[in-house]
């Protein structure tokens, strides 16, 4: 559905160089710290910046729905005006569904977006992205800064979108790892402009693990499957993608219950 091959973008102090393959019918997460290159990658995919190399295969704009973290329709417009704009921009704008969802989320149609709360604005952005029979959603931080209820509403909208059609595809970036864990099929991790990890969520949660080792255990353990190591007060924290191996062979060591935040932290900070 979306293929990004060796896409490069050079700035004075930053360089993007990424390859991603987003499969049809999947939700793919993009995770990375601030300044890692997530937004630059999104902008490159959407043609908002000119790339210095590589290729991007993407469906036509008519079939894409986009949420950008820091941009949207002007705050001076009302939902009523946005409806008129969208029905004249998209061939397949679902006006009735859009209005139904606005009513459901209590989004007033005659008020300027300027008067909306953060949650209302975020819901409107996602609604705009998915009400024209888009095949691919590209969502940059759609749940950023939201309370649990608003976040849940947005995640449900994305799930509904996926259930509608088996070909529907989503690329989403988020800082909230629980969102990604509950939503995504696979995750790309980006750091310093490059993809440092790509795994399915199942593999990340089942095969990856953090081993907490004291100095003695660390000396004796087979280090063949340790991806990253970090010195801690108690000894060493080690990231592995062969959890079963260590569980079977070293039953005494502490293996932490996995979460994406800690994995991500180890990928970036571990050596």
């Amino acid at each position: 559905m979306l293929e990004i091959k060796n896409v490069q973008k050079k700035y004075d102090h930053f360089q993007l160089n990424c390859t991603l393959n987003i499969q049809e019918g999947t939700i793919t997460g993009l995770i990375g710290q601030n300044g890692a290159g997530k937004t630059t990658l999104f902008k490159a995919i959407l043609g908002l910046i000119h790339i210095d190399g590589g290729t991007i295969q993407i469906p036509p704009k008519e079939e894409i729905g986009v949420v950008l973290a820091d941009a949207g329709f002007s705050d001076y417009l009302t939902i009523g005006e946005i409806i008129s704009i969208l029905e004249n921009m998209y061939m397949h704008f679902e006006k009735d569904y859009f209005i139904q969802k606005c009513d459901e989320f209590n989004l007033p149609r005659d008020k300027k977006i300027l008067d909306f709360s953060t949650g209302m604005k975020a819901k409107l952005k996602v609604l705009i992205a998915l009400t024209h029979h888009a095949q691919l959603l590209i969502l940059d931080e759609p749940t950023s800064g939201l309370d649990v209820i608003a976040r849940d509403d947005i995640l449900n909208m994305i799930r509904e979108f996926m259930e509608e059609n088996p070909h529907h595809t989503v690329l989403i970036s988020s800082h909230i790892s629980s969102d990604l864990e509950s939503l995504c099929d696979d995750v790309y991790m980006i750091n310093d402009g490059a993809i440092v990890l790509h795994e399915t969520i199942d593999d990340l949660l089942n095969q990856y693990a953090l081993l907490k080792l004291d100095d003695q255990q660390y000396q004796n353990i087979d280090k063949a499957y340790l991806l990253k190591i970090k010195k801690e007060n108690y000894g060493y924290c080690c990231l592995t993608n062969q959890k079963q191996f260590y569980q079977d062979n070293y039953p005494d060591i502490v293996i932490d219950k996995n979460n994406i935040d800690e994995l991500f932290f180890m990928m970036i900070r571990g050596e």
């Binding site: 043609g47 820091d70 941009a71 002007s74 001076y76 921009m89």
Partner: protein, 220 residues
């Protein structure tokens, strides 16, 4: 294209107080000022400013980056801005013409002033307005809402300086440009008008191509 126009018309509706003052000033001049040309000149400048205002609205809060994720292309966007500006010009010049007729009727108590020459004057004002648009839009696209005001002061200040220098030159050399100009026009007003329209059309075409190139190069 239609969606973009609807968006800009929604933006233009925000300036209700501006239109109110435009109408009040227009009516005021029409009733109390004895020169019908003033209101035409006044309105011819306004259309470009209103069209630029819509680019500012688009630019607000990185709005352009979102806008270019929607189906219209950058070329569509530029094309729509020119069409919008021309449309506003036509509406404003019609408004100004009505006020100008009212002023002349108040002064002359008849409609004999309406002639082909008079109509050519109106048309010239309209095309003068188009010429301003040709200068304003590329500057706005190139420099954005922040820097464009400074850029416009430099461009229009430069143009004013050229006119002042030309004026001083005529003073020094003793050439009466105005009578020379009138002489040329009286020789063949239609030819001059046709040439003026062609020049404005050419300037607008070049301006449009420049605007597209600049917009295509921009990063958001």
């Amino acid at each position: 294209m239609k969606g973009l126009l609807i968006k800009d018309i929604a933006y233009l509706k925000q300036n209700k107080s501006l239109y109110f003052f435009l109408i009040i000033f227009g009516l005021g001049f029409s009733l109390f000022y004895d020169n019908s040309n003033f209101i035409l000149g006044y309105c011819s400048v306004f259309s470009g400013i209103l069209a630029l205002g819509t680019i500012n609205y688009d630019d607000y809060n990185h709005g352009l980056s979102f806008l270019f994720t929607l189906p219209p292309t950058r070329k569509d966007y530029v094309k729509e801005k020119y069409l919008l500006a021309y449309g506003i010009s036509v509406v404003l010049i019609i408004f100004a013409t009505i006020l100008s007729i009212a002023t002349d009727y108040r002064l002359l108590h008849n409609f004999h002033f309406i002639s082909l020459d008079w109509l050519l004057g109106i048309l010239a004002t309209l095309f003068f307005s188009f010429m301003l648009i040709a200068f304003l839009i590329p500057i706005q696209i190139k420099f954005g809402s922040q820097k464009s005001q400074l850029a416009m002061i430099i461009v229009f200040g430069g143009m004013a300086l050229v006119f002042i220098l030309l004026y001083l030159l005529t003073q020094v050399t003793g050439i009466d440009i105005e009578s020379l100009f009138n002489q040329i026009i009286s020789l063949s007003p239609y030819l001059i008008m046709t040439m003026f329209i062609l020049i404005v059309a050419l300037i607008n075409y070049v301006s449009y191509r420049i605007s597209i190139t600049m917009m295509e190069k921009k990063e958001f």
